[in-house]
Amino acid sequence: MGKFIVRRILQMIPVLLGATFLIFALVFLLPGDPTVGRCGERPCSPAYVAAFRAEYNLDKPFIVQYALYLGKLVQGDLGTNFYGNSVLHELAIRYPVTLKLALIAIAFEIVVGISAGVLAGIRKGKFVDNLVTVSTLLLISIPVFVLGGLAQMIFGIKLGWFPVTATEGTWYQLLLPGMVLGALSVAYAARLTRTNLVENLRADYVRTAKAKGLSPKRAIGIHALRNSLIPVVTYIGASFGALMGGAIVTERIFNINGIGYFIFRSITQRDGVSVVGAVVVLVFVYLVVNLLVDILYGVLDPRISHD
């Protein structure tokens, strides 16, 4: 097991290096002035451009530039925006709210997604199955920002069940935004659970379990479901990427003062250092979460070789 974990972490290193290089290349190397959009809606002053070029070593060969950039990143230096605030600090004071929001979304995804998928899977072709298939298709088709606006309008304003904004970021206030954020992943998780369960219910081992006299509940709940959920776990890890992109939109709609809203505000103020710094952190978080899920996958599925 230890070997497996170490190998996974080692495999992760080239991807991390590659991803940071790609981001670096997209931001600094492509033709175009990297100081564009660093100073709001006006061109940067020559003094700022000079300072920026010096800070990011833009006069050095690009491999050196990248190495120095990576060095800064490893030390947690994401740069200072033009308000003079350290981007890392801005993120540090905001991450608890976004974390809460993400936790609600993931909990929603796991509880509702998996139960809907199981219900549909064991009643394949029946009404519940069709209901789940159609409603997940609808959820997949509605972009998160449309869903957010509609949810705000219906549940916040018309029905008054939930607070319309979540400025303080309490659990209750974050409930509706969290569900909106998780909606897309709920739909995919439900579909994935259903497909896998339907496939596994046909498998020989489930028939054997029934033949030897296990109750259907146990045959499905313990034998089929456990195997069906393994891909769903991977999906939930992968969905983390969409979740973080969605957080930018959700936090904007519900006025949640988290990392997503910070990114949105930085985009509108054309505060490039903040946008790039914060997005890089999110990509990092995404990669680390997926590494953890990968390791967990190895624990859950004994068929994955550990040597």
């Binding site: 991803a19 972009p143 606006g149 969605g246 997005v279």
Partner: protein
């Protein structure tokens, strides 16, 4: 539940299937019903699905709307009497008017062009890149395949929306940027992050097709690698790519709208649904003028739905396992 027991009868089928000769229908049966190709089979299955006709109709309507908005409205989307701002739907303006008094119906119709263009172009570019590189990796194999796969892993590691934000932020557009240049930027941003999806799919399906007899035969007959690949390997590996590209097309439309919503995709004077929804989602406006939000939202969601549904119908029809 019926499934579980239904599978009891399944072992009967493979007995004939293993043999290979038994599976061939007897000659007289063949002449009675001509053998159909997989494509014809799939078409038969799709023809009977109402979902196929619904999504096809929606796609035709939205593509027409994108190509010839004049067919649907004779109003000018840029004709905005400010004194009528936020008017509710009426006989004059069916969907009401937006913040600047523009006709929401006309703007919604004209907004289709951006979404359809970005969706179709991105799906096309990712398919071309993904199929090209995927076929190379899957067919040639060896170190080249490893290199290509690891490169794709790196691109795959960056979530679509986050990467899109970075790229669009690095290449900002302003008021004077030509329409097609802005569209091109969005397509570039989405395609550069989206191609690994198609690459992985194509690579694995090429690797499945590669060892089959007809490919070996083509090679044994002296076909050049180019000929073997273009006339045997690629046509027989394309089905999953077509299906996934159609589904992804819907996702790209949603991604473009999200970028525009965040203010870094299409910007005025270009008209897009994402922008319209962004303008309408201020809290005060949702309360006072919900029509500004609802109509573009419905159109956007229906477009995404149409492509995703079409992709799923085609997939179900092409996949014999699901029949």
């Amino acid at each position: 539940m019926t499934d579980t027991y239904g599978s009891n009868s399944q072992p009967l089928l493979p007995e004939g299937a293993i043999d290979g000769i038994v599976r061939q229908p007897p000659l007289d049966e063949q002449s009675a019903a001509p053998a159909r190709s997989l494509g014809a089979d799939a078409w038969e299955a799709m023809r009977r699905s109402p979902l196929f006709w619904i999504s096809a109709a929606l796609i035709v309507i939205f593509v027409l709307m994108a190509a010839f908005p004049g067919l649907f409205t004779n109003k000018d989307p840029y004709d905005c009497p400010l004194e009528l701002a936020r008017d509710a739907p009426s006989a004059d303006a069916w969907f009401g008017r937006d913040l600047l008094g523009c006709d929401v119906y006309a703007r919604t119709i004209y907004g289709a062009r951006a979404s359809i263009l970005v969706g179709v172009l991105t799906a096309f570019v990712t398919a071309v890149i993904g199929v090209g590189i995927g076929t190379t990796g899957g067919y040639v194999g060896g170190w080249l395949d490893t290199l290509l796969s690891r490169t794709a892993d790196v691109f795959f590691a960056i979530p679509l929306l986050l990467g899109g934000i970075l790229i669009m932020f690095t290449f900002p557009s302003d008021y004077d940027t030509p329409y097609m240049v802005v569209i091109g930027k969005v397509v570039f941003a989405l395609a550069i992050l989206g191609w690994p999806n198609i690459f992985r799919l194509m690579r694995s399906s090429v690797m499945q097709v590669n060892p089959l007899e007809y490919v070996q035969a083509a090679r044994a007959l002296g076909g050049s690698p180019w000929r073997v690949v273009t006339s045997h390997v690629v046509p027989n590996s394309m089905v999953p790519v077509i299906v996934v590209s159609t589904i992804d097309l819907g996702a790209y439309i949603a991604a473009e709208a999200t970028l525009s919503f965040l203010g870094i995709g299409l910007r005025p004077p270009a008209i897009s649904w994402g922008q319209a929804i962004s303008e309408a989602s201020g809290l005060g406006y949702i309360r006072a003028a919900p029509h500004m939000l609802i109509f573009p939202s419905v159109f956007l969601s229906l477009t995404v739905l149409a492509f995703i549904m079409m992709g799923e119908v085609v997939r179900d029809a092409m996949d014999p396992k699901l029949r």
